[in-house]
């Protein structure tokens, strides 16, 4: 019988690493964060610190920078959690979005790619955006579906999705990077997203 806590193995299928992805009492944790309980922040880090660090490290490829950005992520969550409704949203997707966006902001600042899109990220990651997220959005079944979906992508499709997520590149920036026509890149992106949506949509039908 599965415990009430959901675990998932990593893409590397290394059974040593089991990443806890959702907790049944995340809404209670969010409430404690809103009440400014210091222990709540400790619990938040213990639950999601490694996941956030791994994500950010994957993006910036620098341990020292990743450390700074994880700190910034958790501080930002601490500062903004009062705008987060624990009864209507899931904590982990919000936190991981903040983490990813901090890393992308860093990459853009290093590459002098700061633009209006930087400020769009600020709006997009607002806690209210996650108001209707299911509590167990990061569940094992969906992650496996996503992993399976990636195996169905062509190399080009996978590369453009990774450039969007892990580098924050727009389609025009991708086209310039890989020296392909913009129309070709758009086709790859749209077809990749269609495959991913179809696979994740299949979970709802189960």
């Amino acid at each position: 019988m599965m415990s009430s806590v959901v675990y998932a193995s990593t893409l590397a299928d290394d059974s040593k690493w089991k990443t806890r992805l959702s907790f049944p009492d995340d809404s209670a944790l969010a409430e404690r964060l809103r009440n400014r309980e210091p222990q709540a922040m400790a619990d938040l880090y213990d639950r999601y610190g490694r996941l956030a660090y791994s994500l950010i490290y994957r993006i910036v490829h620098n341990a020292s920078v990743a450390e700074d950005l994880v700190q910034e992520t958790f501080l930002r969550v601490w500062n903004q959690v009062r705008a987060f409704d624990p009864q209507r949203g899931a904590l982990s997707p919000w936190l991981l979005t903040v983490a990813r966006n901090r890393a992308i902001d860093y990459l853009r600042s290093v590459d002098n790619r700061v633009s209006q899109r930087t400020f769009e990220l600020e709006k997009i990651e607002h806690p209210a955006t996650f108001a209707t997220a299911e509590q167990d959005i990061l569940n094992l079944d969906r992650i496996r579906l996503l992993k399976d979906a990636f195996t169905k992508l062509t190399d080009q499709q996978r590369v453009v999705i990774e450039m969007a997520y892990y580098e924050g590149l727009s389609q025009s920036e991708m086209a310039e990077r890989i020296k392909q026509p913009l129309g070709t890149v758009k086709t790859w992106v749209r077809s990749a997203l269609k495959i991913l949506r179809r696979q994740l949509g299949a979970e709802a039908a189960i």
């Binding site: 769009e120 590149l169 997203l193």
Partner: protein, 250 residues
């Protein structure tokens, strides 16, 4: 004009903050006008994108990181704290003269709020959602404090505070932050060091409107300030504030 069906192909790109060009403008406009299809579509895409965060190989963070984060939650010891408090105290004395009290000057504030609404629509500042800004301005419990009025040097503007909605900053005559730098807003609680309240940039005209959403403990907030910080922002101010708007007593 793009339809929701056409825009649905790029919800994920918008959610990742990588959509640009006409598609970005069209989708942002749909969301700004409250299109339920696009709003919910982007929300679903955003939440699904969080699944991608689980893909990278897991790496153990340094053990010191936990303590670093938790230490930042407590009261901060800043070598600049005294300078900040001194500057804030001086600014408070000067700004008390310019503080606007809505319950005694309502008609004047109504005209000023109407002017602010006109400026929002006219200038179409890109830093925040204009619809959200108008809701902030229209909220009956919003209170306003000005800063920099009558001073020969920039910047000047208004800080609007609303216990339920947060803080809105409207500033003019503030040159765009140089490369590698950004403006950071701070909330100064009573008897505590400044707390980070978000990053913003001004346009070429030196104007900006920034909203820091969320509930605000108005009774325990002494002031709102802005300083120039490194591009990624700071956890504590690293420079003296460019301006301070006292909010205590509102």
């Amino acid at each position: 004009m793009s339809t929701c069906h056409e825009l649905s192909e790029v919800y994920e790109l918008y959610a990742l903050g990588v959509l640009d060009g006409e598609e970005a403008t069209a989708l942002a406009e749909h969301i700004r006008t409250g299109c339920p299809t696009c709003s919910s579509g982007v929300q679903e895409a955003l939440i699904s994108a969080a699944l991608l965060a689980t893909m990278p190989e897991q790496v153990e963070p340094p053990t010191r990181l936990r303590k670093r984060i938790l230490d930042n939650i407590g009261p901060e010891k800043s070598s600049a704290a005294w300078a900040w408090m001194s500057l804030w105290a001086a600014a408070t004395a000067a700004l008390l003269i310019g503080v606007i009290f809505l319950n005694t000057e309502r008609s004047k504030n109504d005209r000023e709020l109407a002017q602010l609404r006109f400026e929002v629509r006219r200038d179409a500042l890109n830093l925040i959602n204009a619809h959200m800004a108008l809701e902030f301005l229209d909220a009956p419990e919003t209170k306003t404090v000005t800063f920099g009025q009558g001073k020969p040097q920039p910047p000047h503007g208004r800080v609007l505070v609303n216990a339920k909605r947060g803080v809105m900053l409207i500033v003019a005559n503030l040159p765009p932050a140089p490369a590698g730098k950004i403006y950071e807003m701070w909330l100064i609680p009573k008897g505590r060091p400044p707390q980070p309240a978000g990053l913003f940039q001004t346009d070429e005209q030196g104007t900006a409107m920034y909203v820091r959403e969320g509930t605000l403990d108005l009774a325990n907030t002494d002031a709102v300030a802005v300083s120039l910080e490194p591009q990624r922002g700071s956890l504590a101010p690293t420079t003296t504030p460019l301006f301070v708007a006292a909010t205590s007593g509102l």
